[in-house]
């Protein structure tokens, strides 16, 4: 069997998407996920929220309110808890070191490293960790970057030395940090109330991007700059060189020259309240509180996935460049429309939701 790209899923019975304005052309590079497998309390997965998900080859790691979950071959293989040495029960972020295979886990309770079957935990009292509320962790070139409630840490795994970045040595309005991403030699920091701060470790230089109108209650112009200073997540797209910032007040993208902002009122974005953003290729994924939205940046076509009611069915909504909308119902759906995080496994997508983990599966054809 050959695994075909997801955009061919249209051939599996969905039919074309029509709206009042006519047929909406689905770009060739836009995947459609029509089949979902969910991991919830009903099939042995910890109940409730899933905060994050990270794919590591065939293994899928999920951070929940009940610990760190390992899924292999479609089965929950293990749930790690503080009793196993994990820093905290609520796991907010997971990163895989591409060089060593070590797992780094950010939790409400500190930072943990899972290596060789053993956890080692770093806390504010036992290490240079700025704060025990860890929201995001990312690893590159032996350096672990950690976003905490009291600043951003850099932990050098070779020297075991810690650095801290906050309002005392960087352009932070507040030290509350939410997200870390790498790109183009820079470290992108999503900062609560402080916008996006870009740090270049080579030159030790900073560049902050903040909401130019400076007001919490308004967006002055659509593409004014960063749409809001409360940034929940930041992502860098290596293909386009753009970085994207999610906020609870809409989505922002910056291409190095212009800003591209999106609200529900002017796009197919499911909600302005966005928990996380990811971007690869032409696509930008926004995990919102009302569904998972995907923007094809080149064609300006949006695809949103949400769950319908309680019978397990889902809805795909396509919004064309002119705003025409088309919907179709799918037999399976996300575990919940409140989405918090996602990661990719080939063409498949894994989504952390408010009530379980979801696996969006590409169709297999003979």
């Amino acid at each position: 069997m050959t695994k075909l790209p997801c955009w061919l899923c249209l051939a599996t019975g969905l039919g074309p998407f029509f709206s009042a304005g006519g047929a909406i052309a689905i770009p060739a590079s836009s995947p459609l996920y029509t089949k979902w497998t969910n991991y919830t309390a009903a099939n042995g997965f910890p109940p409730g929220k899933v905060y994050c998900v990270r794919v590591d080859g065939d293994r899928v790691w999920a951070g929940t309110g009940h610990g760190l979950v390992l899924i292999e071959h479609g089965q929950v293989k293990r749930v790690f808890t503080p009793a196993d040495g994990l820093a905290g029960r609520a796991v907010m972020s997971i990163a895989v070191d591409p060089q060593t295979g070590d797992l780094w886990i950010g939790a409400f309770g500190g930072l943990s490293r899972y290596s060789g079957g053993q956890f080692k935990t770093y806390t504010n009292l036992s290490s240079g960790l700025a704060n025990d509320l860890v929201y995001s962790v990312a690893v590159k070139n032996g350096e672990v970057w950690v976003a905490t409630a009291a600043g951003v840490n850099r932990f050098d795994t070779r020297t075991e030395s810690w650095s801290i970045f906050n309002e005392k040595n960087g352009p932070f309005e507040e030290p509350w940090s939410y997200s870390i991403a790498f790109g183009d030699g820079n470290v992108y920091m999503g900062v609560w109330g402080g916008g996006v701060i870009v740090y270049n470790p080579a030159t030790r230089s900073w560049r902050p991007y903040t909401d130019p109108d400076g007001e919490m209650e308004i967006v002055l112009y659509r593409n004014q700059g960063l749409i809001h200073n409360i940034v929940s997540s930041v992502a860098y797209n290596e293909s386009t060189g753009m970085f994207w910032a999610s906020t609870y007040f809409g989505l922002s993208g910056y291409d190095g020259r212009n800003w591209h902002n999106y609200l529900t009122k002017d796009s197919g974005l499911a909600s302005d309240f966005i928990n996380a953003v990811q971007s690869r290729g032409d696509l930008v994924w926004a995990c919102t509180d009302k569904g998972l939205s995907c923007l094809n940046y080149k064609s300006n076509v949006w695809t949103t996935y949400r769950r319908l009611g309680t019978d397990g069915r889902g809805e795909i909504e396509i919004t064309g460049p002119e705003g025409h909308k088309s919907k179709t119902v799918t037999p399976s759906a996300l575990a919940h429309s409140y989405t918090l995080n996602l990661d990719f496994q080939g063409d498949d997508v894994w989504v952390a939701t408010g009530n379980g983990l979801s696996h969006g599966i590409c169709q297999l054809t003979q």
Binding site: G48, M92, D132, L133, A149, A150, M216, E217, I218, V219
Partner: protein, 446 residues
């Protein structure tokens, strides 16, 4: 229900004295004066937040969680986070907040608790060091399984708890911080009843510039977040009223000698001074100011309004005008009865922090009683207070779409060694239909 609420608000606006001559205009966020609206003379914003019913809409799964079984519980636990260690200068407010919450809970238990199960407080100290209390709400969740939390006063700790509860989903009733940004996040897990710096800053700016017609004003404020956020609001409001403060001077929270700042202020030729400070430092500033021969009128934020100011500053405090979160000289039966019960229980006078905590705990207990032991539904019950009034011992409050209290404040002046109170009345309330939300109460204190 929403339609009824909107009709009620419109009816209130139309019924407000002086409002009937013009049709109701659109609501302004935070009841801000027309002149303080950002970019008002430039353009209409592309997007305006916080003015729609879905501002705090919640679409998560918290309501799906199994309800707690009260029969299997010894107590129905509510967390409290506040500055309680007496080495912490903010414990003055924190202990008052604790006592207000305790009294409300004891009275609720005397009237049956939660279907016969008593409520219990799980008390956590809010340490003054940045982020040191960050894990307290996590402990409340995983160790104590609280159904909701009340607190805190320190704005940093409140923000950190707020961010954590976006993930953990624990309803928070905040009764003590004056930081306006805690309700400007769209995180749908917090109700806030204490008058914030926006309301305080707007009240002071209108009084100083529009009513007293003062022009050359400077700000002297503490370097902590309390001073910084309050200053931001007042400074911005003043600038938009066309009266940008001449100078902004600062002092450390531990500072006792303000001579250098006062010399600088005097050399600037100011007409008036605005203090964003606590009572202890305000008393020192006033004494040093008057000793130096400076006679300019002084205006201040609400934390200055404490008996300590009168005792420490003496005659130097005469003429000081400040904003107050409440009027303790009211004679309505609800306030007098509460004051008596509080005196009997704690042998002390209830201050604003105690009063708002008492009201906040009552709001929270009523929400738990009506919603049951389910955090999602408890927050739904709190969210039902959007665009409605609540009459408590602290006075009348009004919650906007962000669940923030935007009711008018109380002004206070030191005269003859006493605090003399009167209701705030901004000049724009005589001209505009949209600003004066002074509704009759829709909720009756249990």
């Amino acid at each position: 229900m929403r339609i009824l609420i909107h009709l009620f608000v419109i009816a209130v606006l139309l019924a407000t004295p002086g409002m009937s001559q013009s049709a109701p205009q659109e609501l302004r966020y935070a009841n801000m004066p027309p002149d303080a609206v950002p970019f008002r003379e430039f353009r209409k914003p592309y997007q305006q937040w916080f003015l729609s019913p879905d501002t705090l809409a919640y679409y998560g799964a918290a309501r799906l969680a199994s309800d707690g079984d009260a029969a299997g519980l010894h107590t129905v636990d509510i967390g409290l986070l506040g500055p309680l260690d007496t080495n912490n200068p903010e414990s003055l407010y924190g202990i008052a907040m604790l006592h207000g919450a305790q009294l409300a809970m004891e009275e609720a238990n005397a009237s049956g608790g939660y279907h016969g199960t008593p409520f219990a407080l799980k008390v956590h100290d809010d340490l003054p060091l940045w982020g040191a209390s960050a894990m307290e709400i996590v402990k409340m969740d995983f160790n104590e399984h609280v159904w909701a939390m009340l607190g805190s006063i320190d704005s940093s700790s409140t923000h950190i708890a707020l961010r954590a509860t976006l993930k953990l989903e624990i309803p928070i009733v905040d009764t003590g911080t004056s930081d306006p940004t805690v309700t400007e996040t769209r995180i749908p897990w917090l109700l806030h009843n204490f008058p914030d710096d926006r309301q305080q800053g707007y009240a002071l700016a209108d009084y100083i510039f529009n009513q007293k017609k003062l022009r050359r004003v400077a700000i002297l404020r503490s370097t902590d977040r309390y001073g910084r956020k309050g200053d931001e609001i007042f400074f911005t409001a003043a600038r938009r009223l066309g009266r940008q403060p001449l100078l902004e001077a600062k002092f450390e929270p531990s500072e006792r000698d303000f001579s250098s700042q006062l010399r600088l202020l005097e050399s600037t030729g100011i007409d008036a001074l605005v203090l964003w400070s606590n009572a202890r430092q305000a008393a020192l500033i006033l004494k040093q100011m008057r000793d130096a021969g400076m006679k300019q009128p002084v205006f201040a934020s609400s934390r200055v309004v404490y008996p300590e100011l009168l005792g420490s500053a003496g005659s130097a405090a005469e003429g000081l005008v400040a904003v107050s979160p409440f009027d303790p000289t009211r004679t309505d039966a609800g306030w007098l009865a509460f004051r008596e019960r509080f005196r009997t229980r704690f042998h002390a006078e209830p201050d604003a922090y105690a009063s708002y905590a008492y009201d906040g705990m009552n709001i929270l207990i009523a929400a738990i009683r009506s919603a049951g032991l389910n955090r999602g539904r408890i927050m739904d019950a709190l969210r039902a207070h959007q665009m409605s009034a609540y009459q408590g011992v602290s006075g009348s409050v009004f919650f906007d779409y962000t669940l923030n209290n935007i009711a008018p404040l109380t002004m206070v002046e030191v005269r003859g060694g006493r605090f003399i109170y009167w209701p705030e009345h901004r000049t724009d309330w005589d001209k505009s239909a949209s600003a004066a939300l002074v509704p009759a109460p829709t909720h009756v204190q249990p």
